[in-house]
């Protein structure tokens, strides 16, 4: 092979490699940017790991750790993919899309969605007293009595916590979780020691 040909071949290889690298980088960037609801699905799943439910629930608790979706499902398959074959608190995780609000009372975590505020209000009312950790997406969710509300801040999904609502349902959220919350409203309750 003549030196000139060699140089051409080398250049060709160099160009090909550069292109390949660019493609790879683009792919990585695309992969590294999950969609907003994928992130929210992951958060929803993770909240369960940092929450403790009242002990009287322990005896009659269902054999599965149910994550329920009330109202329109925005998560899609992302949540199912995440929770497949996962366990929380020693129980297999199950994702339920609930048609009747009352059916969600046996759930541990509920993503409460609605087309308007009234629907959300009625859904929250239906869950009250059932010790369900309620997570919502709507801007007025905490004011309506919800416990954890997703907030979008500079393209980052964060969350705010209404401790009063959490305490009302005798749920204890881990301080680790509260540490990374965007904001925590309400006053923490010192539970009497048994």
């Amino acid at each position: 092979m003549k030196p000139r040909n060699l140089r051409i071949a080398t250049n060709a290889i160099r160009v090909a490699l550069t292109v390949l690298c660019l493609i790879c980088t683009v792919n990585l960037v695309a992969q590294a940017r999950p969609s907003q609801y994928e992130v929210k699905a992951a958060y929803l799943f993770n909240f369960g790991k940092f929450a403790q439910w009242p002990t009287r629930m322990q005896q009659s608790r269902p054999p599965t750790f149910d994550i329920c979706i009330l109202g329109p499902d925005l998560m899609g398959q992302a949540l199912d993919r995440l929770t497949a074959k996962e366990q929380i608190d020693g129980r297999p995780v199950r994702v339920l899309r609930v048609k009747k609000d009352e059916d969600a009372r046996s759930c541990a975590v509920a993503f409460v969605n609605g087309s308007d505020g009234n629907e959300i209000n009625s859904e929250l009312t239906a869950l009250s007293g059932a010790n369900v950790l309620t997570v919502g997406d709507q801007s007025e969710f905490l004011k309506r009595g919800g416990m954890i509300q997703f907030i979008l801040q500079s393209n980052h999904v964060r969350f705010a916590v209404n401790l009063d609502a959490v305490n009302r349902e005798h749920i204890v959220l881990s301080s680790e979780l509260l540490k990374v919350a965007y904001s925590v409203s309400g006053t923490p309750v010192q539970e009497p020691r048994p």
């Binding site: 992969q31 590294a32 992130v39 992951a42 958060y43 993770n46 790991k49 940092f50 980052h156 999904v157 964060r158 969350f159 881990s174 680790e176 979780l177 540490k179 990374v180």
Partner: protein
């Protein structure tokens, strides 16, 4: 090995001491340093692992809920650990999540290095160490913590060890030198003293010197003591030997003087006896001659025979006295050496003998030219004795054969007189030269037994030798030498 190639023992001991202590110290230094560096590194890894664990646990929610600020705050807590230069938390996919650098101005290069199946690991990067630890939450990896720590302390530590070791080495060197001086005082000095003493003794044969006794009481002191004791003994023995030798010499000198005196007295006595005997003997001889002359006709044959025997006996006694006087003279007379022609002397003596017995048939051979430097009178006595002997013992053969000659040997000229006479039994050859010892009966061959003894004494006085060879009936040969030594 050149190390021990020094003359003094103390030098050798010092070098051995330094070598041993130096080696031990260097080995100890290396071992301690290695052990310390190892344990320091292990401790560093352990503390880094702990810190990574704490950071990891505290960053779980930050990772899970994508709160980079919280993670950064957690990492800021590392500012309490001055050895940690920087830290990085990565997501499970390896993307950087949060970063901490102790020195904001310096850029810390931390690249994720953990493999997906690894939960922790550490890597050395020059003077830094990178430690990675997977953050596990409820059995699942949620991210990784990387801590970059400084290991410059290790070098500090090594340097400190080196410094301490050199100090100890210097101190032990000092001690070694101190030990050397004490070794010199207690070991080398006594040994050197001993060696010098031994040298003086072997060089000068002077046994009166003594090695200096060392102060302390150890084996060396014992050695020196034994050495000196040995010298004492040798000296005592020498003195005793000397004393006894002196005593012996003195005694010998006394005895010699006594003997010489006695010998002189004896010679004087025998000389005067021989001399004084002559007068009466001459008288007897004369009277017997007169008796024979006067009364030869009147006397009966018996008396005549007795008178005849009286004459013979007195003649024999006269010759005996002559021989004794010769013997005495041979011993006492002073030597006057002058050149003598032996051949001529032999010829004249043999002519004299032939004249006395003209009827004998003789064959005489004399080799001319035999000259010696000796006392003329004494050598004449020697030759007369030997030739007379030869003449006497050939009296019974038909033809008398006497030969005088000489042969040159390496030791000098040997003269000889050969005859064809009666000879003698060779086993009695020694007796020939003793006074009054005779091998033949007086009736067979008359003689006094003094002649050859006289000859031997004269040859002795000239420093020569005389000896005889022969056998019965086959003649005899007498050999003698007359060496001349200018100094005498």
């Amino acid at each position: 090995m050149n190390l021990l190639n020094t003359r003094s023992i103390s030098g050798k001991l010092t070098r051995i001491h330094l070598l041993v202590s130096g080696t031990a110290l260097v080995l100890a230094f290396v071992a301690y340093l290695g052990l310390d560096l190892y344990s320091f590194r292990e401790n560093l890894i352990r503390s880094l692992t702990t810190e990574a664990g704490i950071v990891g646990t505290n960053s779980v929610t930050a990772l899970l809920f994508d709160d980079q600020e919280s993670a950064k705050k957690t990492l800021e807590a590392l500012r309490n650990s001055p050895q940690i230069l920087g830290a990085v938390i990565t997501r499970p996919d390896g993307m950087e999540f949060a970063r901490y650098t102790r020195d904001r101005s310096s850029q810390v290069e931390i690249r994720p290095k953990l493999f997906t199946n690894q939960n922790s690991g550490h890597w050395n990067q020059g003077t830094q160490m990178l430690l990675g630890s997977r953050i596990i939450f409820q059995g699942k990896p949620v991210g990784t913590v990387y801590l970059l720590a400084e290991t410059r302390d290790l070098l500090h530590r090594a340097a400190q060890y080196g410094l301490v070791s050199s100090c100890i080495l210097m101190i032990s060197l000092g001690f070694a030198l101190l030990a050397t001086s004490s070794v010199r005082r207690f070991v080398t000095d006594p040994l050197t003293g001993l060696a010098e003493t031994a040298q003086i003794i072997s060089r000068d044969n002077n046994y009166s010197v003594r090695a200096k006794q060392p102060i302390n009481n150890d084996e060396l002191s014992f050695l020196v003591q034994s050495f000196n004791g040995m010298l004492d003994q040798i000296e005592d023995r020498d003195r005793a030997l000397n004393d006894s030798r002196n005593a012996l010499e003195k005694r010998v000198a006394e005895r010699t003087a006594e003997l010489t005196e006695a010998n002189k007295e004896l010679e004087a006595f025998s000389y005067s006896v021989a001399h004084d005997l002559r007068g009466p003997l001459q008288m007897i001889s004369n009277i017997s001659f007169l008796l024979r002359q006067r009364n030869s006709t009147d006397l009966d044959p018996d008396t005549s025979e007795l008178i005849e025997q009286l004459g013979h006996s007195s003649k024999r006694m006269s010759s005996l006295i002559d021989d004794l006087l010769n013997l005495a003279r041979a011993t006492s007379a002073t030597l006057r050496r002058e050149p003598i022609d032996l051949s001529e002397m032999v010829t004249s003596i043999l002519h004299g003998l032939e004249r006395d017995e003209p009827n004998r048939r003789t064959r005489i051979i004399v080799k001319p030219g035999a000259t010696v430097i000796a006392d003329d009178g004494l050598i004449c006595v020697v030759l007369e004795n030997i030739l007379r002997n030869a003449w006497k013992y050939t009296s019974k053969v038909d033809m008398t054969e006497i030969e005088f000659g000489y042969t040159e040997k390496a030791t000098g000229t040997v003269y000889f007189v050969r005859d064809n006479g009666a000879g003698f039994d060779p086993q009695y050859a020694d007796r020939l030269f003793r006074p009054f010892q005779r091998l033949h009966a007086q009736s067979e061959f008359p003689g006094t037994g003094i002649g050859l003894a006289t000859a031997q004494r004269i040859i002795d006085r000239h420093g020569g030798k005389i000896w005889a060879e022969g056998s019965i009936g086959k003649g005899a040969v007498f050999h003698f030498t007359v060496p001349y030594i200018a100094q005498t």
